[in-house]
């Protein structure tokens, strides 16, 4: 039996990168989430898998739109017509999959929940639970049915497993308990970076987010094909998605002139190129002379001649201070200033004024807890700007 496992589609949730300011890329990727899901369904049909599995978070709470549900039904019906049934569960973002509110999904599309936690397809029993609330602090595992004797048992669960940085804890579940539940395969969702766990004959698959939406999800862009034969389950990750994210760190401090900076940028950015896929690059530069704005200009110029690579963000930082080195008076005195209570009050006031003017969605970016980090950046910025101005 061959299965295509995916999760965390987050339909309707857009890509969040300044790279999409590029009109051509922006136009290409405005439907990236939907296009990627179509690509996944195409893959399921092309690979003639026996079942297509979706382990939750097909939608996104932030973008509740029943049009997305209509789109989902259209695509899953397409798979169904091609002989590929779908088994899915709800995740913490999937209020739109509520049967009571919005009706059935269609033939050969099985949404598992507490009322119908198991469906048999061929010689396999698929088990899954869907919960209604966005935050679940207890493990779902005790509520899952036991394995059906004489059948292959496959579980679908939306869980943060043992916990993952950057992800809300959702139905946390100890990995050991999961693998010992008696199922042959666990298809998981919630964590956007893909991974697999193998424990003897048991396999657990976290397929990752198929279309990364921002730099933090750069490890995504995958789905997983699983083969259940006589032996242990076999898996194969497949790359999907229209845009990837990557990081490019360059030390430009040794560059003697602008031409050399350009050469370094070009060499570095070329390494980010991926054939057949657009890539948004986050560029980290170390330089005592070239500020962020200047590096952004140069990198944009370089990228004009590199197909498929776009700037996500640029950060230029000064060369780290050598231990024992004579510190610039200004830097030293700025550091002394930072610890002054009066200064901190003034800084917090500045931060607060700006924060109150920000759209609420991103106001936390300027949270007072980040003051020290901002001040560190501020010292570096002043130093860099001062040296850059002198060098110009």
């Amino acid at each position: 039996m061959r299965l295509l496992v995916s999760a965390d589609i987050h339909l309707g949730s857009p890509i969040r990168s300044v790279a999409l300011r590029n009109p051509e890329l922006g136009d290409r990727l405005k439907q990236a989430g939907r296009d990627t899901f179509v690509e996944i369904v195409d893959l399921a049909i092309a690979e003639q898998v026996d079942v297509f599995l979706l382990a939750g978070d097909i939608f996104d709470n932030g973008y509740p739109d029943l049009k997305s549900r209509a789109f989902l039904i259209t695509q899953l019906a397409r798979a169904s017509e091609a002989g590929v049934p779908t088994v899915l569960i709800r995740g913490n973002h999937d209020a739109l999959l509520d049967h009571n509110a919005h009706g059935d999904l269609g033939a050969n599309i099985h949404l598992l929940d507490k009322g119908a936690p198991t469906v048999d397809i061929g010689d396999a029993a698929f088990h899954g639970l869907s919960f209604d609330t966005a935050h679940v602090s207890k493990s779902f595992l005790p509520d899952y049915p036991g394995p059906v004797p004489g059948k292959r048992n496959i579980g679908l669960m939306h869980t943060s497993l043992d916990g993952a940085p950057g992800h809300d804890p959702y139905a946390p579940c100890a990995e050991g308990d999961l693998m010992a539940h008696g199922f042959d395969l666990w298809c998981l969702g919630h964590i956007h970076a893909p991974f697999e766990r193998v424990d003897g004959p048991v396999l657990a698959v976290m397929p990752g987010i198929p279309q990364p939406r921002h730099f933090g999800e750069r490890q995504g862009g995958t789905v997983t094909l699983v083969s259940l034969g006589d032996g242990a389950p076999e898996f194969e990750r497949r790359a999907v998605g229209r845009l990837g994210f990557s990081e490019c760190s360059l030390d430009l401090s040794a560059c003697s002139d602008q031409q050399e900076v350009l050469r370094n940028l070009r060499d570095g950015l070329l390494t980010a190129q991926v054939p057949g896929r657009d890539v948004a690059v986050r560029l980290h530069v170390t330089s005592d002379r070239h500020g962020t704005e200047f590096v952004t200009e140069l990198a944009s110029e370089v990228l004009d001649s590199i197909d498929g690579v776009f700037l996500d963000k640029v950060k230029s930082v000064p060369t780290p201070h050598q231990p024992g080195a004579e510190t610039d008076d200004l830097v030293r005195l700025m550091r002394e200033e930072l610890v002054e209570e009066g200064f901190r009050q003034a800084a917090l006031q500045q931060l607060e004024e700006l924060r109150f003017s920000m759209p609420s969605e991103i106001a936390d970016e300027l949270h007072e807890d980040s003051l020290d980090a901002f001040l560190e950046e501020a010292i570096a910025e002043v130093s860099l700007a001062l040296h850059a101005r002198t060098s110009q």
Binding site: D65, A70, Q322, R332, L354, I362
Partner: protein, 1135 residues
């Protein structure tokens, strides 16, 4: 740290070059002047020093032009605190590039520790200064608006853009966000976000929106259904009303009909077509009665006709006889057709036959056979034509035989004697052509002569040994061109340089004269001179105070006057000093220009000398004397080349001539060998001439031989034709003989027959006509006999008297025919009348029958009906009207019942109760329209709600808006961070600068003031610090006590202040972390001597606590330095 020696081992243009920086004597400042002209490598040396300290930079190396980057090496001997003197080397490797004197790697920490952790950039910023940096630094610190912290920071760090940097950061933050700012990035972005949010909310199909849309759809559907029910009810009531109205009206109508029917006859309803049927029957009875009457009248008329045309009994026998007569024919034609003309025709034809017999007899006489029976002489037409053809063939064959014989005789006479047979000359022609190809000698001899003449001509102006020069190899044209071009360019440059040098010398003399004049001017005294006169006055005063003699008094008076004069001149001599300064500057610049011109002139002379040697070599190689101008090289090279070519041409011509003679002999031998077998002999004359003639005539001989052979063939063919003609003639004669065998003619030869042919033809025609005419006469005679016989029998039938038997048979026959015709016509009339009468009789009987049937039907139609007293038409009309009324009544009943079908009984009863009601229909129609409108509105609302529901799912996904929203949020997020960082940076920097001012104001401010005054005295007497709300500000103090803010100082003064700040900063660094070498690159280039001296004194100050290295290419600065700085080391840049 101190730099003792810099080793430019392989670096730039230098190889194993060393620059030593001598250690100063005890108590002397550590100042080294590194002197070298422009482009002498001062910048190279400084860069080498930096790369030694901090390592090579990546990428293409600017000084890797003599040596590859990988081969570059610099070194130095350094005095390091706590380590003493060490020798270092640095190569361009990425790692372990710092080496000791034995090329062993050294830990970088040794150097970086000595450098106090400074980076290359910060070292350059703090410990180097050039003229441009000094000038721009002065301009930039104006932006500090005198802020003490910023100024001191500039002095310490060498970074002068603090004010601009802080302004720029503040601007960046303000661009993103500013309180009450309208066009800020944040405001614009937030507005757009709100707009997008509104659009997305409007577009997004949320659960709530879907629920509302679904609710709207269901509600409008229910409204629609309610309105539909009401509409149906209205329709039903309207239908019930209409039905009640019909019921009411029909009931009224039925009552009236019942009353009317009481006045009509009783009886059942007539058949549907009874009226038409009765009318038809009445019509029919009348018509049949008329037909019967008319038939009876016609029958009477026909009986009369039958009686008037009885039967003729003779008609049958006459018909039989006449039919027999009509059947008779004469020569295939009916007898009766010719009977009338036969008698007259018979006589005329008998005369014609007699005339023909006479003409036949005459023809026989002409053929010399008057007694022969005509049938034996007269031939059939075909036989006659065969005979004529045979005669013609005989004549034709005879003529052909004669013509062939004559042609053969003519051809034989013209044939003539046979020529000799030609020989095969093909092989001879080949050998002759070969000989001819090589027979031409004069052209080779001419070519040889021309080549010899050309060689003689082109070598006329060359030395005897020109062939040796050519053999030794001539210089390449490109070499000569290059040397000539270089020589010409160099000569022109040299002339130009000489002229330039002379002009510069004149300029220098003029500038020196001007300087002498300006120096001689009393007003030109400078501050140094005034100080000197003051010092001199003080010395003389001291002497005078000690001695108090007249002499010292006079000396003091003189010194005092001199000092007063100097000061007076100084006070009034600003312009003169300016002129003097200008003159000094001009002398310096003209000296430099003169020196430059001289250097260029010398260089060109050296190049000229270097180029002379290859020119001499080339002259010798071309056979010219040494010193020959290069302009002659090309012509000589051309002449030698032409001579070599001419010699080669002559050699080629000689060889070609010899080769041709050998070829010619061989070809002649081959020609002789080929000619002998064919009978050509050289003894009979020039062999080629003989052969050429034979070859020329070969075609003519061959043509004559072929023509004679053709004549032979023609004669043979003509002989054959003669024989053939003779055979044809014999054959024709035999055929003629066969045809004339039975003819009794006396001459049967072809000539005799030819003469008799016209008579034979005439006889044949006459005899044919004669036979035809005889046959015709016989037929006419027979016809006349038959007619007479028939007339006789007819006479007997008609019963006429026999005596009239001799009458004309034709008349008798005509009478018989008339009688027969009359009888036939009577028969026809009678038969026709009988037929007509029978038909009319049948018609009359049929009409009587039909009339009886019609009367019976009419009676049947009225069976059971009343109204017997009426005529059928009136009766049936009455009955039809009765039935119509009955039908109307039945229809009304049906309509009444039909109107009730499908109608709600209750509604019908209600509406019927209202009848009659004239306004009810209008009232109900209005009500119906109202309900219809309500229903239509409900339907439209339902459709719209349904459409909205469906379209909500089908609407285009506004992911473009969601994407723009996400991008905007990212941009604002990033922008907010940058703005916050910028704003906090400015806040922190301003605080730090205040701290810096407070921290350094004590020690460093004193150093600044001292350095500033050293450079600016007496224009400035000090500096001060003002404390203001926005911070502490540095101001300058002038001799009159005025204070001037920094930003109001002149550019020059600000440059001096910046220099003072840098020196103070350097001193500060030297005091705390420790001294590092300070490199000043020609910073005094634009200073006048006074300022230059002051600056040099400050350099000596630097040298007092650390090492000062001053690069310059100005000799006078070297002199000034020697004058100003005791123990200064002067080092020249290595070559």
């Amino acid at each position: 740290m101190r730099l003792n020696r810099l080793d430019l081992i392989r670096y730039g243009r230098f190889k194993d070059a060393h620059i030593a920086f001598p250690m100063p004597a005890e108590g002397m400042p550590d100042v080294t002047i590194l002197f070298g002209r422009n482009e002498a490598g001062k910048s190279t040396a400084f860069n080498g020093f930096l790369e030694l300290l901090f390592g090579f930079k990546g990428g293409a190396h600017p000084y890797a032009f003599r040596f590859d980057r990988s081969d570059l090496v610099v070194g130095a001997e350094l005095d390091l605190p706590e380590r003493g003197t060490m020798v270092f080397r640095r190569n361009s490797k990425r790692t372990q590039s710092l080496l000791d004197a034995n090329d062993r790697p050294i830990n970088e920490a040794i150097l970086s520790g000595a450098l106090h952790g400074l980076t290359r950039d910060s070292y350059e910023e703090r410990f180097s200064l050039n003229e441009k940096g000094l000038r721009e630094g002065g301009e930039r610190i104006a932006g500090a608006q005198g802020d003490l912290g910023q100024l001191l920071h500039a002095g310490l760090s060498g970074l002068t853009g603090m004010a601009q940097t802080l302004d720029s950061l503040a601007e960046r933050a303000d661009r993103f966000y500013k309180k009450r700012g309208r066009g800020t990035v944040l405001k614009t972005g937030s507005d757009r976000l709100k707009e997008i949010g509104r659009e997305l909310r409007a577009d997004r199909l949320t659960t709530e929106r879907e629920r509302k849309l679904r609710h709207d759809r269901d509600r409008t559907l229910a409204d629609f259904e309610t309105a539909g029910a009401e509409l149906r009810q209205a329709y039903q009531r309207q239908a019930a009303s209409k039905a009640a109205e019909i019921w009411y009206d029909r009931t009224e109508e039925m009552g009236q009909l019942t009353e009317a029917l009481a006045n009509f006859p009783h009886g059942p309803n007539l058949a549907p077509d009874a009226a038409e049927r009765v009318a038809g029957l009445v019509e029919k009875i009348a018509a049949q009665s008329i037909r019967i009457t008319e038939a009876e009248e016609e029958i009477v008329k026909l009986d009369q006709i039958i009686e008037d045309h009885p039967i003729d009994n003779l008609a049958q026998p006459l018909t039989t006889e006449l039919d027999r007569l009509d059947q008779l024919t004469i020569a295939g034609a009916p007898l009766m057709g010719r009977a009338s003309t036969a008698r007259a025709d018979l006589d005329r034809r008998r005369e014609d036959r007699d005339k023909l017999r006479q003409q036949i007899d005459k023809a026989l006489v002409l053929l010399d056979v008057p007694d022969a029976p005509v049938s034996t002489v007269a031939l059939e037409a075909n036989d006659l034509e065969d005979l004529a053809t045979a005669v013609q063939e005989c004549l034709t064959a005879s003529l052909s035989a004669d013509a062939a014989k004559e042609a053969a005789e003519v051809a034989l006479a013209q044939h003539g004697k046979a020529p000799s047979e030609p020989q095969d000359l093909a092989a001879l022609r080949v050998t002759f052509d070969n000989w001819k190809a090589v027979a031409d000698m004069p052209s080779f001899e001419v070519t040889h002569g021309q080549a010899l003449a050309r060689l003689t001509k082109v070598t006329a102006g060359l030395p005897q040994y020109w062939t040796d020069l050519v053999a030794a190899g001539l210089p390449a044209q490109e070499t000569l061109d290059e040397v000539s071009r270089d020589w010409a360019t160099l000569t022109a440059d040299l002339a130009s340089a000489r002229k330039d040098l002379e002009a510069r010398a004149v300029e220098l003399v003029e500038a020196q004269a001007d300087l002498t004049t300006q120096e001689a001017a009393p007003d030109a005294v400078d501050i140094v001179k005034t100080e000197e006169t003051r010092r001199q006055r003080e010395i003389v005063w001291q002497q005078h105070r000690g001695d108090l003699t007249a002499e010292t008094a006079e000396q003091f008076e003189a010194a005092m006057y001199a000092d007063d004069s100097a000061r007076a001149h100084y006070l009034t001599g600003a312009e003169a000093r300016q002129r003097l300064l200008a003159a000094q500057g001009k002398v310096r610049s003209t000296e430099v220009r003169h020196q430059t011109a001289k250097t260029r002139h010398d260089d060109l002379i050296a190049q000229h000398d270097r180029l002379s040697e290859p020119c001499s070599r080339l002259a010798l190689a071309l056979g010219l004397k040494e010193g020959t101008p290069t302009s002659a090289f090309n012509a000589r090279q051309q002449a030698l080349t032409s001579a070599a070519e001419a010699a080669a041409d002559l050699s080629n011509a000689e060889k070609a001539l010899k080769d041709r003679l050998v070829q010619q002999k061989g070809a002649r031998d081959a020609l002789t060998a080929a000619a002998r077998p064919l009978g050509y002999d050289p003894a009979q004359g020039d062999l080629p001439t003989q052969i050429q003639r034979a070859l020329t005539l070969e075609d003519n001989d061959r043509n004559a031989w072929a023509k004679w052979q053709d004549g032979e063939k023609t004669i043979a063919e003509l002989d054959n034709k003669v024989e053939q003609a003779r055979d044809d003639f014999e054959t024709a004669l035999k055929k003629l003989e066969l045809l004339t065998a039975t003819l009794p003619l006396p001459d049967c030869s072809h000539e005799g027959i030819r003469a008799a042919l016209p008579h034979l033809r005439s006889l044949q025609q006459l005899y044919e006509e004669y036979k035809k005419l005889s046959v015709r006469i016989g037929a006419l005679e027979q016809a006349l006999a038959v007619l007479a016989d028939s007339a006789e029998r007819l006479t007997r039938v008609l019963g006429e008297p026999e005596n009239e038997a001799g009458a004309d048979p034709i008349h008798i026959i005509d009478r018989a025919r008339s009688r027969q015709t009359l009888a036939t016509r009577a028969d026809e009339k009678r038969a026709e009348a009988i037929l007509q009468r029978d038909r009319l009789d049948r018609s009359r009987r049929r009409a009587e029958t039909e009339r009886q049937d019609a009367n019976a039907d009419l009676e049947a139609s009225f069976e059971g009906q009343g109204g017997q007293n009426l005529m059928p038409r009136d009766r049936v009309e009455k009955l039809v009207e009765r039935d119509r009324l009955r039908t109307e009544k039945a229809t009304a009943e049906r309509d009444r019942q039909k109107a009730c079908e499908g109608i709600d009984a209750d509604l019908f009863a209600e509406e019927l109760d209202r009848m009659p009601d004239a306004t009810r229909a209008t009232e109900l129609e209005q009500a119906l329209q109202d309900v219809q409108l309500t229903r239509d509105s409900a339907r439209d609302a339902q459709r719209e709600a349904d459409r909205l529901y469906r379209e909500a799912f089908q609407a285009a996904d506004r992911s473009d808006l969601a994407t723009e929203q996400a991008i905007l949020l990212e941009e604002l997020r990033s922008g907010a961070r940058q703005a916050a960082v910028a704003r906090l940076g400015v806040l922190a920097a301003r605080g730090a600068l205040r701290r810096l001012a407070a921290e350094r104001r004590g020690s460093m401010l004193r150093d600044v003031e001292q350095a500033f005054l050293t450079m600016t005295t007496p224009a400035w007497t000090g500096v001060d610090v003002w404390t203001q709300t926005e911070g502490e500000r540095l101001v300058g103090i002038q001799p009159d006590g005025n204070t001037v803010p920094v930003e109001e100082m002149s550019t020059g003064t600000m440059g001096q202040l910046y220099f003072a700040l840098r020196l103070a900063g350097n001193r500060s660094f030297a005091r705390e972390p420790g001294p590092l070498p300070m490199v000043l690159d020609d910073i005094m280039e634009t200073f006048d001597d006074v300022r230059a001296r002051a600056a040099l004194q400050l350099c000596a100050e630097i040298g007092a606590t650390g090492q000062a290295i001053l690069f310059t290419h100005h000799a006078h600065l070297v002199e000034l330095a020697k004058d100003c700085i005791e123990g200064v080391a002067i080092v020249n840049m290595p070559d």
